[in-house]
Amino acid sequence: MTADPTAGDPDGIRRLARLHTQHADAVRAGARHVVDAAASAQSGWTGKAQERFVSVAATVPASAQRIAARLDEAASALDTYASEVQRIQDEAHRVQTAQQDAADDIAANASAIRRATATAQSADAVESDTAKLQQLQSGAASLAGLQGRLSVQWDELVTRRDAADRQVASALEAPEVVGRLQSAAAVAKMSDGQFLTWLGSLDKESIAALQDDPTIAARLARMDAQDVAAWWTAMSGPDGAHSAEQDAFVAAIPAALGNLNGVAYWARARANTTVLADKLSEAKRKTSYWEKQLKSASSPAAAAAARAQLQTWQRQRDGYQNIDDALNTGTVSLISLVDDRPPLAQIVSGDMDAAKHVTYIVPGMNTATYQDGTVGNYAAIARGMRDEQHRVAQVDRSEIAVVSWIGYHGPMADDLSFASVVANGRAHKGADALVADLDGFDAVRAASGRDTDLSVVAHSYGTNVATIALTRTHADHVVLFGSAGVTDVAPTADALQVPKGEVFASQGAKDGWAITGQNLSGRQDPTDPSWNAHDFSSETQGSGPDALHGITHHGPYDGLEGNEQGRYSYFDNSTTAQYNAAKATMGLGDQIPEAGSPFDRMRQQTKDNWFMFEWQTGLTGDPTK
């Protein structure tokens, strides 16, 4: 497109330049206040908040200086452009006037030539008439020459304006104005390595400018966890301290970082807190909206559609609210939040970045964030397991972290997915997610140089998920509770990428659902001796105040309220199951007596209930005799 030398408003451009200068002045003034505040904070205030204050305040002056300089650079470019546009416009107006004058002269001359020609060709023409005609014709040639020169001048102005436009556009996109930010087209051409190197080169204020760019988040989501971990770790301060750049990334693109394997868990947790607030707020709005739509529905079809939407958004709202409630206890953090239907969440007790012993708990069927109590229970399960690990191994709590990994959609009891408990589709999908997360954890640890003892404790249908996953990735210890059956993908414990002797399995004698799941699905019982796990008991052990409770049914958790009614599940405190799992995951598995095979359970069942003996064996009498 040809540039128009007359287009634009130089005064308007100058106003924009001034606006940049005003911004630069405000930035410098603000920075002076921060410097003053930091100086004031040096005395009369101590503590962690003061240290964080000073640390953040120290980054502001340099950042402000860079931003102010960029604003000045933009202002200067715009001022220069305004002046050039003004000059070009002045020239253009002169040329336009001259062109108009020339056009008028040419028209008048042509008219005169027509008249002079008629006169010179008339019968009474004299010599001077011919001379006049020749003079006019000569003038026409001169005017044509002038018109040509003016046209050339105009073209030169078009070229000058085009150059001025390109120059200011280039200046506005130059590093001196936008830092190291790149256009979307340039980013798209980068290789993954170049992309991460470029991200790593950005200063904190340039990182802040990424927040409106969805392509950055999409690109990061496709990255390999090891590459992400290397990028993220390289930005860390001394001894892994959080850097201003890392903080800036968390603030700018929390949704992209919250579930990004390879990013440090403190950053993911902080990012997810931001995302959770947004998602909860959105779910409340949508719930309210669909409630109104349902009330005002004009037809049964519209009502049905509104009802379906309402149920979806109520579940989203309840899921996010339950997660928020768990976080508000101040005892757990949120290292993953997936905006699925319903939401998925990974809740951690302990410091995932520093812990030397990390355990992932994989739940079974009928686990969803929207259910009353589920998220809170899994937060309690993580805390309880961590406490027990600390107690049995005498390892400081700061060295232990336990993740409740509600990271897949298991079969649910309250919808048609219940039937899928006998199938393996959900387990394979869950295994894909678990492999990604365990590999992501490995990547973070490899990049930070911190070694970890990694465990997986799975319950019910989650044992199917975990065993499939562990044929593709590794753990140091595995515990399988109340398995609803393990697929042929893992025909024995030896198929798992777990050290020999570190695969444990247990099923309580009073667990009626595990065996049901195994029988209906045709999957293997991992406590069967042929599966080659280290079986342990989940039955009552000892007596008196130190007694460990046997599980009374299949559930993951009954809590204090259930315990007071004599109900115990695998992850309850003071159960044999939890105690043995804590030992196994802390590397003390060789201290756990082998027990709890199907035959042991049958013996236990017969001790507890004669009918069970008769039912299972077809025999009568006392089996212990």
Binding site: G8, H33, W45, G47, V60, E173, K204, S206
Partner: protein, 97 residues
Amino acid sequence: MKGATLGDVTVDASVMHSVASKAKDAAAEFGSERALSGADGGCFGSDVVASAFATSARAQDAMVRSLGDDADTLSQFVQDAASEMEQADAGLAARLR
């Protein structure tokens, strides 16, 4: 009482007031100008320039906004310290504010 100590936290009321006030002033300065990206790019008379300006204005707005966020974070640190002390000494916290 002009100050208090709680564990590793020492707080002088006048110092905290001064720090909080300056942090708020900083936030006010950083947010004092209208957004560059809200300006009309029609004055350029050139689509090329208007597009480049829109890109740079968005980036610079975000950069300035990040300074405002920093200032808000600084204010929050003061608030955190006040809250911590509030649990130990409600009277002091009132004076801090």
